[in-house]
């Protein structure tokens, strides 16, 4: 009985939570209306104009790279990846691009969106100022098809710094890391190997042998890990100190600017330079 009473009470008088939700949806409705006015297309949902880079060596018409136009619905929350998937599913099933997790974890969909390296899944259409939205493959890498680039060289550079833990594991014990040391490498562990930084780097574009920001950041992650021996650290520094290692960085901050995981790449590279100099001066 009492529960019935309570129910009728709530039905008549909305809880604060419900009121808040209602207000929120109202405000959303207003904003939606504003957007529809902005990008009015006649129908209900706002649309976005995409200009997408196309190239396919196996198709005559696409052997010369060109841009294709797509108009896709873009309600609030639509990401560039969503828009591309819509275009592929509804208009042109040959539109090719890499994607997997759709939540900025797998690192598959780094693209050149409106002149900047970004993850397609992390970039909201609404946050982009320029229309049409230009979607291109990552610069400074060979294009294989449409938005797919050859990542081989990037992976080679990553491999070159031996991106794996090489500490001794004590028998039946956990490899504990101190809190401070964990804090030190925390940001560097966030790398998802998307290649945005490498693509943005002017030096990596010119000097093919340059390790590049992602690889140096990986090296930083392990060189700074106190659980690895001094010998291994020396070995790691040896890789970074080569001519095409840390010294090539010109602190343009392009990599730091585009990193979708906000890793302070330039800062890490700079720290490795100082480590290397300190290393060398010690023998003096």
């Amino acid at each position: 009985m009492s529960t019935q009473l309570q129910r009728t009470e709530t039905e008549g008088d909305e809880s604060p939570q419900e009121q808040r939700l209602e207000r929120k949806s109202l405000a959303e409705g207003e904003r939606e209306a504003q957007r529809t006015e902005e990008e009015s297309t006649g129908d209900e949902t706002p649309h976005v104009h995409l200009k997408v880079f196309r190239y396919d060596p196996e198709v005559e018409a696409k052997r010369e790279p060109r841009f294709d136009d797509f108009r896709v619905p873009a309600p609030q929350g639509t990401t560039v990846l969503d828009a591309l998937m819509y275009a592929r599913d509804e208009f042109d099933s040959t539109l090719t691009f890499r994607h997997s997790c759709r939540q900025a974890v797998c690192g598959s969909d780094a693209l050149f969106i409106n002149g900047s390296q970004r993850l397609g899944c992390q970039t909201q259409i609404q946050d982009l100022d320029q229309r049409p939205v230009r979607v291109e493959p990552l610069p400074h890498q060979e294009v294989e098809k449409d938005l797919v680039v050859d990542m081989e060289h990037f992976y080679d550079q990553m491999e070159a710094v031996e991106p794996y833990f090489q500490g001794e594991t004590p028998d039946e014990e956990e490899q504990l890391q101190s809190r401070e040391n964990r804090e030190k490498v925390k940001m560097s562990t966030r790398c998802i190997w998307c290649g945005a930084c490498q693509s943005s780097c002017n030096i990596a574009a010119g000097d093919n042998e340059y390790l590049g920001p992602a690889a140096i950041n990986k090296a930083y992650r392990f060189a700074m890990d106190e659980r690895e021996d001094d010998d291994i650290k020396k070995h790691r520094m040896n890789i970074l100190e080569q001519e095409h290692g840390v010294w090539r960085c010109q602190t343009q901050f392009s990599c730091t600017e585009v990193c979708p995981k906000d890793i302070p790449l330039t800062e890490h590279i700079q720290e490795m330079k100082r480590e290397a100099v300190k290393d060398n001066l010690k023998f003096w």
């Binding site: 002017n202 574009a205 343009q252």
Partner: protein, 130 residues
């Protein structure tokens, strides 16, 4: 891989409107650096007239200084050197790991300082040139 397309470097300078401050700082630093090393060679060449005797040295330099073009170029040289110094200080701090978060602001500061110093020096550099 059968075939792939190399888009080359078109992205770099064709997209200058999208460059971030750090990139501009680098471009200006490099450009001013080229100017300064070029000037160093010419500077030594001109001053080498001293080896051929005091008279030649004085007349050569005086006649160069009497040209309006040289005076204007000197203001340009001062601007170039000042920017290279200001941005150079910025880069030294970045190398020491100081102020990496405000690298864009420090670039703007070096630009503003360079402009101010160049403008302030115009009277000194052009005095007696007309």
């Amino acid at each position: 891989m059968s075939q792939s397309h190399n888009r080359g470097l078109i992205e770099d300078f064709g997209r200058w409107r999208e460059f971030a401050p750090g990139m501009w700082a680098w471009i200006f630093h490099k450009f001013t650096g080229w100017v300064l090393i070029g000037y160093l060679f010419t500077h030594v060449a001109v001053l080498s007239t001293a080896i051929s005797g005091p008279q030649l040295y004085t007349t050569t330099l005086r006649s160069l200084e009497s040209l309006l073009l040289v005076r204007v170029l000197e203001v340009g040289l001062l601007a170039v050197a000042t920017f290279h110094i200001m941005n150079g200080i910025r880069l030294l701090f970045i190398d020491l790991g100081v102020g990496l978060e405000s690298q864009d602001k420090s670039f703007y500061a070096s630009l503003v300082l360079t402009g101010a110093i160049a403008v302030a020096s115009v009277p000194t550099f052009l005095s007696g040139a007309f």
